[in-house]
């Protein structure tokens, strides 16, 4: 379908994943170009989530290869994917509401100081760094000492995206980042996504909102029945075409 080239930051080829007799993925392909926003669309049950979970290390594909930055990779855990440079912003955001923004930012990757085995949190540094990363991306950045419980939906999304972006990651996967947001908040989060792209991060955007896909993404992959059935440059497609590709009314 496509020929691998250095232009691709990520290629997934013939990914198969079966859950107890259900073929969630039947040989799906996906490519992401460096510095671009790639959208992944498809109806419910088309296999988007499973494919994304394979890329972020939550699931391990039964067969198929994932190539990241020219190297074949396998992820046994989400942590392994993260260490390789693939960050995921989950739909539930994976934020702990009772903790502050900076604590959430560094959760699992805390900076510490101290001597030998006695170490303590370098709170000052973590507050400073998270504030900088957040301010770089979001206009309405909340103070990093606020508890997440007090943030709006858009602010939470911004925190979650900034956290994913803040580790020198090569790819950030976003699962329906604006699904639960109002118009204004959606616009703010889209600004965050655009800003992230400008910083050179490749983004995989899962979305049901075709307007958003056409507005933000450079490239679209369409999934149906566990397969990637079509790919388009957003510049050369339309919402109508995407709908017919998703439903199968139009063959790829």
């Amino acid at each position: 379908m496509t020929t691998p080239s250095n232009d691709y930051i990520l290629t997934a080829t013939d990914i198969v994943k079966t859950f107890g007799g259900v073929n969630a993925l039947r040989g799906a392909n996906l490519t992401m170009r460096r510095g671009e926003i790639t959208a992944l669309i498809g109806d419910n049950g088309a296999g988007k989530s499973t494919l994304v979970r394979c890329l972020s290390g939550i699931h391990q594909p039964d067969s198929g290869t994932i190539t990241l930055d020219g190297q074949v990779v396998t992820f046994s855990t989400p942590l392994a994917a993260r260490e390789a440079g693939i960050e995921t912003v989950h739909q539930n955001l994976a934020l702990v509401e009772d903790l502050t923004v900076w604590q959430n930012f560094f959760l699992g990757r805390e900076k510490t100081r101290g001597f030998g085995p006695i170490r303590w949190l370098d709170s000052r540094r973590m507050k400073r760094e998270s504030a900088v990363l957040l301010a770089d991306l979001a206009v309405n950045a909340p103070p990093v000492t606020n508890r997440v419980r007090r943030l709006s939906g858009g602010q939470r999304q911004a925190v979650s995206i900034a956290r994913a972006a803040g580790w020198g990651s090569k790819i950030v996967i976003m699962d329906e980042p604006t699904a639960a947001l109002g118009v204004q908040e959606t616009a703010r989060v889209e600004a965050v996504i655009t800003r992230l792209k400008e910083q050179g991060v490749a983004i995989l955007l899962i979305s049901h909102n075709f307007d958003q896909v056409l507005r933000l993404a450079d490239h679209v992959w369409v999934m149906r029945g566990g397969l990637a059935v079509a790919e388009r440059r957003t510049a050369h497609t339309s919402g109508d075409e995407l709908v017919s590709l998703i439903t199968g009314a139009l063959a790829s």
Partner: protein, 334 residues
């Protein structure tokens, strides 16, 4: 620790910053009372008992109150770690009993004092390990697991001692009960040290952050690479270890390792944590709150005794205070 601990002292600092007018405004709000139930209750008790009893505020009584509180303070700190993860340790007092029996039996067998202490701590930690592994790996409800180990540890203590107390008379224990620095007894110093170390661990270390994170949302913590299972095992181990420390102090105080059930300590340790403003659903770690809660409960018992109120009324009073505190937590700010 150069900076103040954020969770506990935040109210105090904001109150200092704001003017008297807004401070009064805060006082009118129920959430102010809810968030500061333990310190307010403690101050109120001190004032009331100070007026009603001439003995209450004497140095001697304060000294004995602090010594009496030291075991409960340690147990409350221990319980606070577990409750911050959203769990509960019902076996805490039985663990203490088993620790005391382990220590007593070892000392009775002519084992060196410090080695006996280690054996006592280890036998307590054994209960914590069982709790932690069953809860974290076995995925059994904390309530059921610790209810089971409460019974098992109590039974084990009875079996090992054939139900009789083991008299322990060691010079080291005598020093522990009678020794002082200034006018502060060793048990109080140990309790204070436990509190200080616990606060450091809870608010200043990676582990403490993970304890609060797991209590707040296990799912989100795991997604961020926190090993929730390990954290859960660790808090039950910490809880049991501190119960073991309490066991040594208990043996020192009584002069014997008794296979008693000590239910009072179990209920009071949970009560102190609730008084200290910790939510039983977990997520917000507190150390000073539970310590103040433990002091409050001890002052309550002490004051009632001084006023020659029948000890039968003490559980009633404790129950009343705890339910009131629990009711107040409903009005806490999120």
């Amino acid at each position: 620790m150069p900076k103040t601990l954020p969770v506990v002292t935040s109210n105090v600092t904001t109150r200092q910053k704001s003017g008297i007018g807004s401070a009064l405004g805060q006082v009118r709000q129920l959430s102010f009372w809810a968030e500061n139930a333990a310190p307010i209750g403690l101050i109120a008790l001190v004032i009331v008992f100070g007026i009603l009893s001439p003995v209450f505020l004497t140095l001697g009584n304060i000294q004995s109150m602090l010594i009496a509180a030291s075991i409960l303070v340690i147990l409350s700190v221990a319980q606070s770690f577990v409750i911050t993860t959203g769990g509960i340790d019902l076996s805490i007092s039985a663990t203490m009993t088993l620790g005391a029996v382990g220590f007593g039996l070892a000392y009775q067998a002519n084992i060196n004092f410090w080695l006996s202490v280690i054996i006592g701590l280890a036998s307590a930690c054994l209960v914590g390990l069982v709790n932690g592994v069953l809860i974290a790996k076995g995925k059994v409800t904390d309530f059921i697991v610790t209810l089971g180990t409460l019974s098992a540890a109590t039974g084990l203590a009875l079996i090992l001692t054939t139900g009789k107390p083991i008299v322990v008379s060691s010079p080291e224990l005598l020093i522990l009960t009678t020794g002082t620095i200034g006018f502060i007894g060793y048990p109080v110093i140990i309790a204070a040290a436990v509190g200080a170390i616990a606060a450091f661990v809870m608010f200043r270390t990676r582990f403490g952050l993970h304890v609060q994170a797991v209590g707040g949302s296990e799912e989100a913590s795991v997604a961020n690479g926190v090993r929730a299972g390990r954290v859960r095992i660790a808090v039950y181990l910490i809880c049991a270890f501190l119960a073991g420390v309490g066991a040594i102090l208990l043996v020192a105080r009584i002069g014997a390792a008794e296979p008693a059930i000590n239910t009072g300590y179990l209920l009071n340790s949970i009560a102190a944590v609730v008084l200290g403003g910790v939510s039983l659903t977990g997520g917000r770690g507190k150390i000073f709150g539970p310590i103040l809660g433990a002091l409050l409960l001890t002052a309550l018992a002490n004051g009632l005794t001084l006023m020659s109120v029948s000890p039968f009324y003490q559980p009633l009073a404790v129950g009343f205070v705890v339910v009131l505190a629990a009711l107040l937590t409903r009005f806490r700010k999120k």
